[in-house]
């Protein structure tokens, strides 16, 4: 009777309040059969990492449009790793300039998705990359 669901935290770090994209993605992932924990806007990296820990998620999805991704996203990865969540997949959606994508990946972000990403792309990426914790 074991029942295991992929759990995804969807959060908006930083100060921009435009959460429509985050809500659309949360809804897409819900419809794909995931359990989505939606935290809402204006989350600090500390709040996101702590929520990811309490909820024991497999994936953290960050939605960011403000341009502060190079500061906020690596910080989330760093905090997750520091609290022992090495396995958690971190993906970023939003407006990310091409030249920053490789830098984010180098900082431990697993995937970066821009506007127009389809539901299939998100879902396939998550199901094929989700990891089992150590």
């Amino acid at each position: 009777m074991s029942e295991r669901k992929i759990r995804v935290l969807v959060a908006k770090p930083g100060l921009d309040g435009h959460d429509r994209g985050a809500k659309v993605v949360a809804r897409m992932l819900r419809d794909a059969g995931f359990e989505v924990i939606y935290t809402g806007i204006r989350q600090t990296p500390q709040m996101i990492a702590e929520a990811a820990l309490q909820e024991d998620v497999d994936v953290v999805g960050l939605s960011i449009l403000s341009g502060a991704h190079m500061t906020l996203c690596p910080k989330v990865v760093e905090l997750l790793r520091a609290q022992g969540q090495e396995h958690v997949l971190v993906v970023v959606g939003g407006i990310i300039p091409d030249e920053d994508v490789e830098k984010l990946k180098a900082a431990g972000i697993d995937g970066v998705f821009g506007p127009g990403t389809s539901s299939e792309e998100y879902v396939n990426f998550i199901t094929s990359h989700v990891r089992v914790p150590a």
């Binding site: 009777m1 074991s2 029942e3 295991r4 669901k5 992929i6 949360a26 809804r27 992932l29 819900r30 419809d31 794909a32 059969g33 995931f34 359990e35 989505v36 924990i37 939606y38 935290t39 809402g40 204006r42 989350q43 600090t44 500390q46 709040m47 702590e50 929520a51 820990l53 309490q54 909820e55 024991d56 497999d58 609290q83 022992g84 969540q85 879902v123 199901t127 989700v130 089992v132 914790p133 150590a134």
Partner: protein, 344 residues
Amino acid sequence: MNGVEPRTTTAADALVAGVLGGNRLLLARAISRVENQAPEASALLTALYPHSGQAHIIGVTGAPGTGKSTLVTALAQCYRAAGLTVGIVAIDPTSPFTGGALLGDRVRMRALAGDAGVFMRSMATRGSLGGLSKTTGDVVTVLDAAGFDRIIVETVGVGQAEVEIASTAHTTLVIEAPGLGDEVQAIKAGILEIADILVVNKADRPGMDRTLRALEMMLDIEGNGARYVRHHGQLLRVESPVESDEEDRRWKVIVMKTVATDNTGVEELRQRIEAHRHWLMESGELALRQQLRIANTLENIIRAELNRRIAASIPAGRLDELVEQIRRRERDPYSAAAELLSLV
């Protein structure tokens, strides 16, 4: 789509040590094992159960949009100010079509972020219909063993009949908001009957007086002296004898007004919950509620095991064959069920 390999990582004894030792990461993982009904879940619960039984469990239920999550947050803050630690389990519905869920209670709980004396977990119903998920009681046991002083369980937004919370919680709060129904709604059977404390939240909204009157009228009619017993799997309400010397010892359900967004009335609500807790202990009612909860737990364990055995004993494909035969009216569902059960 949901079928990830089961987690085969941290051993059960390490998880138990983590839960008892205050390790939040291991606590979170232990909760997942229990929620997922992983193979080691029963060993985990067996080891943790003797450490449980200390926490006071508070159920919070009510219709969607009455402000349950906001009130839970405000209440947790009051408990923190009083020096107690708080575990929170908040439940939201699973889609019956996709199996997915959107768990949104954290949006209202940001004020609790960064407090090591609070642990909050979102759960999806995963097909259960009573307002909780089938492992909610087990997750509460894990938080209880972890040493949280108060555990608040927030049900899904409920309608009229989701009363499962009453057999999980020690103190049940039913949250109403102004303008949701008239006096007839208030005297219908179901959700209002399980309240130890009735709360009208959003008390600053229009229609407050009318809602308050309707609820108070309902309480007058009820006579305010009922107890619950479980009889053949059903919650039964038993009116206590109304004798004058007993009058003072009975718990009186009252209607409390809160505005959770600015904490109005929330500390008073906390004190009322604590008063109920003391009443439970002094009146002997606590033992009754514990019996109810344990009987419920036992039943759930037995039912889950029976379901597992039934599923395991039906040959692959037989169920689909029977369904098709029944659809063509060659069989009927009653004799087909009897056939399948005879295999168990």
